[in-house]
């Protein structure tokens, strides 16, 4: 397994970014905290601050895509199947919501005033969906409600005509909820998913991409956090031909926390892309980003980009982002690009790590030193690597289903 990739960055001064191999990088992880400087990372200087990126609800405000744009340079544009060019008039995947008592589920028109309360598109494909959706699903968790069980949102694709979809989830102050978005079937769809996380409320979102092999999915997922709010996002992509998820967190008041987890398993010919953005623009908020991926087969392509912006007002920020890619056999390609932009020195902590490679030899050593044969040690470590994200779901039945799905994936490469 010689194919280790860690490309797409141009700032070798940041430790961890140029390191090939999980082991080396994990040794570096401890000291790769980014010190504040007057300069942004090279890339930010080239492209301007992430804070200055264009935002608009209208598709015509974005130029047609060429594939050379910073945020599309890893994406096979042709495989977007019209999501970037066509009017998205196809039938959107069918949404069915099962929610505990007390939760309000509505289907509303474009003019509903709540739409846009948590997000605004930052790219042409998301804006295209925003310009074209006809109705939106709005799920509201009332103030102080602590739900028994989770809200299940089944999203089933039924046809391959390019379509637009809009979903909004709002947790009112002091409420607590878990939402599972489960994407299955076949579709070509661009989505905007808004999460409005009210003051002192807690929202966990698990978004599962378990599409059929032909699906094309672009999903812009925006979280807007109120004061002392807690948001946890677990983004798991297993199926689909081309899947591009762009989750973001924006803080509006101090004391809020976001945890963003991701797991992707990329097979031959699959393109799975995750672009994260955390905008620290107010003081004393915390963010953690942990994405892990396993890749196997020819043409398997994973992209992870993690942008974290710490604005000059964001004193006391505490942030760390991590991406690990495990290459299971020859053939795949992983691009991994962490970007930190820091405009204040008065922070609690900021760091990142990115590694792509094979299994950590230290893990295998420890297990073998306890008598576990090499092959079984490897099996345990591979499953542990994936399980670390699955464990964040905290819904037993769903964790089991996903571990089964991962077993099926692993059996393809005899792992």
């Amino acid at each position: 397994m010689a194919n280790e990739e860690n490309q797409g960055h141009n700032n070798p001064a940041i430790p961890g970014m140029d390191v090939e191999g999980e082991k080396l990088a994990s040794e570096l992880t401890a000291d790769d905290t980014i010190r504040v400087s007057k300069h942004n990372t090279d890339k930010a200087e080239i492209d301007g601050s992430r804070a200055e990126r264009k935002t608009s609800y209208k598709v015509e405000d974005f130029a047609p895509l060429t594939g050379r744009e910073e945020d599309w340079r890893f994406t096979p544009i042709k495989r977007l199947a019209g999501l970037h060019t066509d009017a998205l008039t196809g039938t959107a995947p069918v949404i069915e919501v099962e929610a505990p008592a007390g939760v309000t589920v509505e289907t509303v028109g474009r003019e509903d005033s709540r739409i846009g309360s948590a997000g605004i598109p930052e790219d042409r494909v998301a804006a295209n969906a925003w310009s074209n959706f006809s109705e939106a699903t709005v799920i509201t968790v009332p103030a102080e409600a602590e739900l028994e069980g989770h809200i299940e949102v089944a999203i089933k694709g039924t046809e391959m005509a390019p379509a637009a979809q809009h979903i909004l989830v709002e947790t009112k102050p002091f409420s607590k909820a878990v939402v599972v978005l489960r994407h299955t079937g076949s579709a070509v769809v661009s989505q905007n998913v808004e999460f409005k996380v009210g003051d002192s409320s807690s929202l966990t979102v698990i978004t599962l991409q378990q599409w059929e092999d032909d699906a094309v999915h672009a999903s812009a997922q925006y979280a807007a956090l109120g004061r002392d709010a807690k948001f946890k996002h677990v983004n798991i992509s297993l199926g689909g031909k081309t899947v591009r998820v762009t989750p973001s967190t924006r803080f509006s008041a101090p004391g809020a926390e976001t945890e963003m987890y991701g797991l992707y398993f990329v097979d031959a010919g699959q393109h799975i892309e995750n672009r994260l953005f955390v905008a620290h623009t107010v003081p004393n908020c915390k963010s953690r980003v942990t994405y892990k991926g396993a890749l196997q087969g020819r043409g398997a392509h994973a992209v992870w980009v993690g942008d974290v912006l710490i604005g000059k007002e964001a004193e006391g920020t505490d942030t760390y982002e991590l991406n690990r890619n495990l290459i299971l056999e020859d053939g795949p390609r992983a691009d991994s690009v962490p970007n930190l932009e820091i405009e204040t020195g008065l922070i609690a902590g900021a760091g990142h790590a990115s590694t792509t490679g094979q299994l950590d030899e230290d893990h295998l050593w420890y297990l073998q030193a306890r008598g576990i044969p090499a092959e079984e040690a490897r099996r345990l470590v591979v499953r542990g690597f994936l399980n670390e994200i699955i464990q964040q779901i905290r819904i037993d039945s769903l964790e089991e289903q996903l571990m089964d799905a991962l077993e099926a994936e692993l059996s393809i490469s005899n792992n």
Binding site: L367, G371, R383, N387, E388, Q391
Partner: protein, 252 residues
């Protein structure tokens, strides 16, 4: 009755593809079942290299000499074969393994070492009892291996494994480092239990004499610059306590 014999062992650390550096320069040591040997030496003398080499860490290369377990040379064996043959290394820096739970790990290790899966009911009871003896919070069984454990918690878990896997020989690599007195007592009691219950031979590697108040050695060896330079009974430890290693340094 089992014997672990180290004969004229020379070992180098592998620095990179081309370079190695000699660390062990002719180590001789014989440990029988039931014996406790303290191997004491200054930092950098190669004590941990000796421990890791016995367990088979790939970073170390045996240049010459033998490590015989009941007459069989283990340097030809893989890491896991050595563990199944009855060698156990309690590590100085136990590794954290994301996503692998303690319960899954302990059961896999026991199954591998014993050659068959342990009977569920007695196993659960054994694990619970061993954890209780070491004052380990029962909730730790659901946590990932060593993940987020404090230094003291990691050491307790090494000894937990020592008690559950019942090796013929336990090699303790600076198990006392970083432990406060209470934790040191708990850990030492665990080692003594395993020693008594299984007639385990012990190689206790340490820099300080502190742990020898709780684990009583039959033999003390002074280890300097890659080999044993003096051996004696427990009284040798007392002399080291008073005089330190100065008199050995420079004497090669």
């Amino acid at each position: 009755m089992a014997t672990l014999e180290i004969k004229d062992l020379h070992v180098s650390v592998i620095l990179d593809d081309e370079n190695t550096k000699p660390i062990l320069k002719g180590v001789n040591l014989t440990i029988n079942s039931g014996e406790i040997h303290a191997v004491m030496g200054p930092n950098g003398s190669g004590k941990s290299t000796l421990a890791a080499t016995i367990a088979g860490h790939p970073k170390y290369q045996v240049d010459s000499g033998e490590i015989l377990l009941d007459g069989v040379d283990v340097t030809e064996m893989s890491v896991d074969e050595r563990a199944r043959a009855g060698l156990f290394l309690a590590m100085q820096y136990p590794v954290e393994i994301p996503g692998v739970t303690m319960s899954n790990f302990l059961r896999s290790a026991k199954t591998a070492v014993a050659g068959e899966a342990p009977a569920l009911r007695t196993w659960t009871k054994d694990v619970k009892g061993a954890m209780e003896n070491l004052s380990i919070d029962p909730a730790f069984i659901a946590r990932n291996v060593n993940e987020g454990f404090s230094g003291g918690e990691k050491k307790r878990h090494e000894i937990l494994q020592l008690e559950l896997l019942k090796p013929k020989f336990g090699i303790l690599d600076e198990t006392d480092s970083g432990l406060d007195v209470d934790a040191l007592k708990v850990v030492s009691e665990g080692v003594n239990r395993a020693h008594q219950a299984n007639d385990m031979g012990v190689m206790l590697i340490t820099h300080y004499t502190r742990i020898l108040r709780y684990i009583k050695p039959d033999f003390v060896h002074v280890f300097v610059d890659g080999k044993m330079v003096e051996q004696g009974g427990p009284e040798l430890a007392d002399r080291l306590e008073e005089e330190g290693y100065e008199r050995y340094i420079g004497k090669k």
